[in-house]
Symmetry: C2
Subunit: 152 residues, 2 copies
DNA sequence: ACTAAATTGTTCGCTAGCTAACCAAATCGC
DNA sequence: GCGATTTGGTTAGCTAGCGAACAATTTAGT
């Protein structure tokens, strides 16, 4: 621990993320649902059926990660995955009847978390957090050589 | 996106954490080492051999997680794990000769990350980030019913 | 038209986190 | 001294993330 704010800001970002995931997981565990699985359902409920590739950008995760999440949801019978007849590469995702039934029973964990975590915190302070972390994230991403849109 | 800072602060905490892990992983990949594995080595290098249980509090992770990390390091021959003759339950961890050799070759990824991420950011702003996130984390942790020191 | 390149998804193998359940050893209470 | 509890570690099974490599399909280039 070098104990300057330069590393503890990052360390707290990690701790906060893990804590929020722990609360989400604990909230959703009775329904046998993971946090990201919940988020996929959320998108399908709010935006209707969509191509799997469209979820990638929304969730900001990589293809293999989404593939695993979707297959878990299909296994549980909450989501249907069918090949798009217009483009046989794509898969169309939609929520099933069982998924809709489950969704109605679920609480809204996101709201719960955000309200307890940042309730009463000044808008200015939250804006500072966003500014510092987003800038830091951008710098880190620029550091990575594995750019997605690179030529050769 | 509800576009208030109440959720984007948390979302950026996640993005920052994942970005920093991506950079750490990319930095350590040539050495076939994960970020947490690196951190275990760091502790063993700086504090000498220690009981596995002492690493739990330092790393702030759960027993099974550490168990997996240690076994990966043992498998790679970087760390030795022997039973403590004084207390046969405990395991003493120490870095091996091969571990020491590897360590000398490694860059210092933590410094790299922190310098690029938060370089030039005002101390006040970093302090705000720490304050907001640590308070948020504490609130979330209080929300969890699975307290560690519970009876019955 | 036909080959080369890009897109979409999956699979494999890894790191890293968790809970629940378990074993073995040590310690506590009586 | 002995049974019950606590402590330290592991195993099993799960979520969630990644890169590399692959197959299938579509699109682009010539």
């Amino acid at each position: 621990m070098t104990s300057s704010n330069h590393n503890s800001a990052g360390a707290w970002a990690k701790k906060y993320y893990l804590a929020s995931r722990a609360v989400l997981d604990a909230t959703l565990r009775p329904y046998d649902l993971g946090a990201s699985q919940w988020y996929v359902l959320w998108h399908l409920i709010h935006d209707g059926p969509m191509a799997q590739r469209d979820l990638l950008s929304r969730l900001q995760i990589e293809k293999p990660t989404l593939s695993a999440i979707v297959s878990a949801l299909v296994r549980k019978g909450l989501v249907a995955q069918v090949t798009d007849p217009q483009d046989l590469r794509q898969k169309i995702l939609s929520i099933t009847a069982a998924g809709r039934v489950l969704w109605k029973k679920l609480p809204d964990p996101i709201d719960l978390i955000l309200k307890t975590a940042f309730q009463g915190v000044a808008e200015d302070d939250l804006a500072t957090v966003v500014r510092v972390l987003s800038q830091g994230t951008e710098r880190l991403n620029n550091l990575l050589p594995s750019q997605k849109g690179r030529k050769s």
